[in-house]
Symmetry: C2
Amino acid sequence: MARAGLTAERLARAGADLADEVGFDQVTVSAIARHFDVKAASLYSHVRNSHDLRTRIALLALEELADRCAAAIAGRAGKDALAAFADVYRDYAREHPGRYTAARFPLDPGTAAASAGPRHAAMSRALLRGYALAEPEETHAVRLLGSVFHGYVSLESAGGFSHSAPDSQESWTRIVDALDALLRNWPTAT
Amino acid sequence: MARAGLTAERLARAGADLADEVGFDQVTVSAIARHFDVKAASLYSHVRNSHDLRTRIALLALEELADRCAAAIAGRAGKDALAAFADVYRDYAREHPGRYTAARFPLDPGTAAASAGPRHAAMSRALLRGYALAEPEETHAVRLLGSVFHGYVSLESAGGFSHSAPDSQESWTRIVDALDALLRNWPTAT
DNA sequence: TGCATTTGCCTAATACATTTAGGCAAATGG
DNA sequence: CCATTTGCCTAAATGTATTAGGCAAATGCA
């Protein structure tokens, strides 16, 4: 019998594509096995179990997203960089909803530390250099940006802002404006 | 044989409790059947299927959260109201992580319209009355607040802000400060 | 080239979740 | 007090996750 040429990476990539098509939680060991026209049990030579497979998809998505972020902020500063960074998140989630969901799959601390997560944090800080906030305020701002981007994108993809005026794009633009204004005028601690 | 006295509501409540204990996606028809010491098939007289059960848990959580929000903003205005509202979200997610996850379960449009979702939106607008934003800016601000609260709480519960200084409570306080400042000083559209 | 080892996918089997169909007994109500 | 409804049951089909053990293809080394 011919071999299918499975590897953990190919499984994760196929899983990521499948997630974008049918949703991350429909990504099942059996579904991926079907995709490769192989028995489900065969996947267990390459991934430990279902959780391991999902983790690999999550890591893949985090890397992709970090790469896009890096490309977006290169050569930009201030509001330009902020807007580009924000758009990366939103566009990625719209183009790849399954991958974006995967990127939020809970990782255990060790795996998280070895993931592209820290790169994301570093890029947020790089972005904020243009606004010159002193610690600990910069950390608060990092957390705020992460919250807004993640929160907006996740509410939007859950359909929260469809079917109501004004359209989502307009809110997104104004929210980025508002964040820029806030960062330039960060309130002092009481 | 004695009857267990199942109803859709009791199943949903048990499911919500189970979600808080073991996570929303471990809430399964079988697990709830075990809890009532009943066969899984018996639940199908009360809920249509697994998806229906989850939907009912989601609706329950949305109601609870809306009730807490209503209590929090009653008799408060401005930053006081903003902080109280924000704390409701965060505290609910911390006390009831499974219910909070359930509250984000994707509802089909009809179900969403009949849920406590619209109450949440109305309360956000009530909250913003103290800041006197004209439309469409008020809508943008509603979406911003939803994004920040949801995003922060979901990143926090995924462990995003643990194991790093400053602690999460401090960021939360400062972010609420910052949002208040932003709303009082909302930038004009370009 | 030829053989030994490793590797990759297989079959078989178990366990558990979901869901449908059909049955019997308990509750309800005229 | 009987008829009907309702509630939970058993049985069975389907699908997923996972482990164990086997055979054949690929690989590596003499």
